[in-house]
Symmetry: C2
């Protein structure tokens, strides 16, 4: 078969790249580090967007749009932000090209140099807080609960489709509040929204936690995150929600008059998820045959493939297929009928396995006779026959079952690959032999965290929100610790 | 009232700017020519997007995403495209900043210069056709019916909110076909989609036509357009659909094997509408009191305002309001209840007039007694009382009526402001005294078109698709003409 994938066991990283390309999700473009998201990949991203957008709106948020470009000077206004973001970025210096006087083509017109360079946004806190200054005078103007769907650019040196690209698509929420408590509540609320989306829609279990100071967003007081475990035992940060305190309000002088008539700086949160979720989705569930998509995100939840030899057979099968499609559509199940005569059934079976369609229905002449269909579920690859009578309801519950089964499988994988380590040796052995999440004691210092990272490439993924109080000793320094944190190697 | 607008009669251009700012649609940003689309404005744009996106999908299209950046050399590949687009654009020359050794802040790191400059896309034909080369081998790979929702940048010198901004949001469809006929059919089909959207959703009548060679998209064989007439008698190009022939396929060497086994270049169309439609919408219907929104695009179709003196009254009125809201929601009517005690009813009335909410419902103690409500429709500013019994159905037909009435009003305005001119003097008199569309004979030469434009600032908006054959003489040169074209001054 032309589209065979490298197996996960052989080379996990190659398997991932093969899959992204061969399932028509995305490809590299002519611009270093920038990807083309192909129609099939984009259809999955659109489903993610629609569901997230509804969750944001149901929690009181609304969308807006802020400029792509940020004046260079804005980055210097928040001291730690500039360190984190202004360095590796795309810089616009000119606004015109002209014909090359020495030949063909065009060259940059040196007369058209910008007075101040513009940065292509790597994230929008600065331009948005500059804007909020004009929107906020009094506590009556608060809260502001804005979200933006946008493209951003970070000049990454090593890129991988979806996981780390120079340009990526994301949403960034930027909220403004009258009190610290309210901003923290918002930060936590959005973390919960992300976790619910990851678990219910993506069927991907996540740990909720808070980042160590080292791993915080540049400019945040606290960074909350959801962390998922991929099949190869590496962690992936799937979403972050930041409590920004008054840092950006101070940097951009955004004050308000509170109910008591006193002036104070505004409190902030920001939160985002990106097309990186596509990478997380792929690596959570897929197998050596291709994508495995949770029904909640599959562009086609069901594909119907007619099996026939004679044209008369096709006509009858097709009419039955259309009838079934209509019944399934009534239950809000999306269906594709593939009756192309340019490809054989075997080719189609492999193709839809590769594309991760959750349920495949094959109908042949014998099925017509017996009033049955042949069902194949993508997650378990099981095949079985079902009567045509009442099929739609059964397919609906099958889809629910698949959604749940995919989640359970990922949950069990994480459970089996979450271990405790009580010494540095044990820690390193687990890391090298098994990977996964490791719960271990840490003394709370940046030095220890840094040393462990340098020696093992493992980082503290988060301090779990449900951390149990447990007195112990740091695996590295032996100093006292009050609870375990989550270590892992990560994407 | 604090939010009073300049009247249209006093200064139409100022009225427009006032309205965009005061109705919270958009504002200028810290970056020259780039706007912030505020939540209320974005909510209208989102409705446009959702409806257009469905229309695209219903006609077989799907979305994808291509890079923001385009290598400079790509622009030189299609000779006329480079003239039209590569000149006024944002150029990325560097990919890193560094701390300024001489002081605070950051400067561009001269060591991080790109080998080839990147252009922030002004339109994506070049990068997309470069990509399509990898997607197309045979007629079996065709058609490709891709659309992209994206931001683009054109370095305009004079900008106006929504109408002409350096960065704007749009969709760009890029299709690939096996035959010229099919590509032309697609080009015309999408023009029809745009016209239907403009008329049915935006309640804005449009003329369908084809541009003169002078006004064609850079790289197109033919540019089709929809043209609308604003209240001040100026035309606005609201959408374009281009038949690109094989120009981009040749520039990027995209060939395919046809059914006969022969190699040929691929045929193309591209088509787009942008946030400029927001400007068109505002200028088509709004009045000196503020926005007038067609119900199909209003974020809130109905606002309910309680009128009360005592808190007990509010409680009763609010419970009635919630009841009505629920009934209206069942008919898919969006409703906002504004029971804020920080603002008086009069202030709220003016506010929702300014924001263009199609139907306002006021409920006071006497309404409770009489089981009525007071209705005010935004388009005509009429007020009348309606019984609460069966209100939802009546509001639904009222909304339909408003949608139709807004369209009719705009249609009549255009009808009254479409005139024929048979001499150049008559033409200039109409233009200066009345404006509007002028149907006049033209000799078909670029020279005449250019001369008229230079002398009067009027351009040929289009050669109407329903042009009648009528022998006459060019108003400028006196040469023979076979039909009238549409002239106007324009945005």
């Amino acid at each position: 078969m032309a589209k065979e994938l490298t197996s996960r066991a052989e080379n996990y990283s190659q398997w991932y790249n093969d899959l992204v390309l061969k399932a028509d999700l995305a490809e590299n473009s002519a611009v270093r580090g920038c990807m083309v998201i192909k129609p099939y990949g984009y259809a999955i991203w659109e489903k993610m967007q629609a569901i997230l957008d509804k969750m944001f709106k149901d929690t009181g948020h609304y969308n807006a749009y802020f400029p792509l470009f940020i004046p260079k000077s804005f980055f210097s206004k928040e001291a730690s932000h500039v360190e984190g973001f202004a360095k590796e970025c795309a810089v616009v210096t000119h606004y015109r090209l002209k014909n090359d006087p020495n030949g063909k083509g065009v060259i940059v017109d040196s007369d058209a140099k910008l007075e101040e360079e513009l940065i292509v946004r790597p994230t929008s806190e600065t331009i948005i807080w500059h804007t909020y200054k004009g929107w906020i005078q009094s506590y009556r103007d608060l809260p502001i609960l804005c979200n933006q769907w946008a493209n951003v650019v970070r000049w990454e040196m090593r890129t991988r489709l979806f996981l780390r690209t120079a340009e990526f698509l994301w949403q960034e929420g930027h909220t403004a509040h009258a009190t610290s408590d309210e901003a923290i509540e918002e930060t936590r609320k959005m973390l919960d929204v992300y976790a619910e989306f990851a678990e219910k829609t993506m069927a991907m279990p996540v740990l909720k936690g808070v980042k160590t100071p080292n791993e915080r967003f540049a400019g945040a007081i606290d960074t909350y995150c959801i962390e998922a475990l991929m099949q190869d035992g590496k962690a992936l940060q799937a979403g972050t929600s930041h409590f920004l305190g008054q840092n950006f309000a101070k940097a951009f002088d955004v004050t308000f008059t509170n109910k008591e008539g006193k002036s104070d700086y505004v409190w902030a949160s920001s939160w985002g998820v990106s097309t990186r979720l596509m990478g997380a989705l792929i690596m959570s569930h897929s197998d050596d045959n291709g994508l495995v998509l949770p029904p909640a995100l599959a562009p086609n939840q069901v594909v119907i493939i007619p099996i026939y030899k004679k044209d008369e057979e096709l006509a009858l099968i097709k009419s039955k297929a259309l009838e079934l499609k209509e019944e399934l559509n009534k239950l809000n199940i999306s269906v594709k009928i593939d009756d192309r005569d340019t490809h054989k059934p075997g080719w189609k079976f492999a193709e839809y396995e590769l594309k991760g369609v959750p349920v495949r229905i094959a109908i042949g002449p014998r099925d017509l006779e017996n009033q049955t269909v042949e069902i194949s579920r993508r997650d378990t690859l099981e095949k079985f026959s079902l009567p045509q009578e009442g099929l739609a309801t059964k397919v609906k519950s099958l889809l629910d079952d698949i959604q749940q089964n995919i989640y359970n499988k990922a949950f069990n994988h994480r459970k089996e690959n979450t271990r405790t380590a009580d010494s540095y040796d044990e820690f390193k052995t687990i890391l090298d032999e098994k990977g996964g999440f490791i719960l271990a004691h840490w003394d709370g210092t940046a030095e220890t965290e840094e040393a462990i990272k340098n020696e093992t490439k493992a980082t503290i993924r988060c301090i779990p929100l449900d951390q149990k109080t447990e007195i112990g000793n740091c695996i590295y320094s032996g100093k006292e610790s009050k609870g375990r944190v989550i270590f892992a190697r990560s994407y």
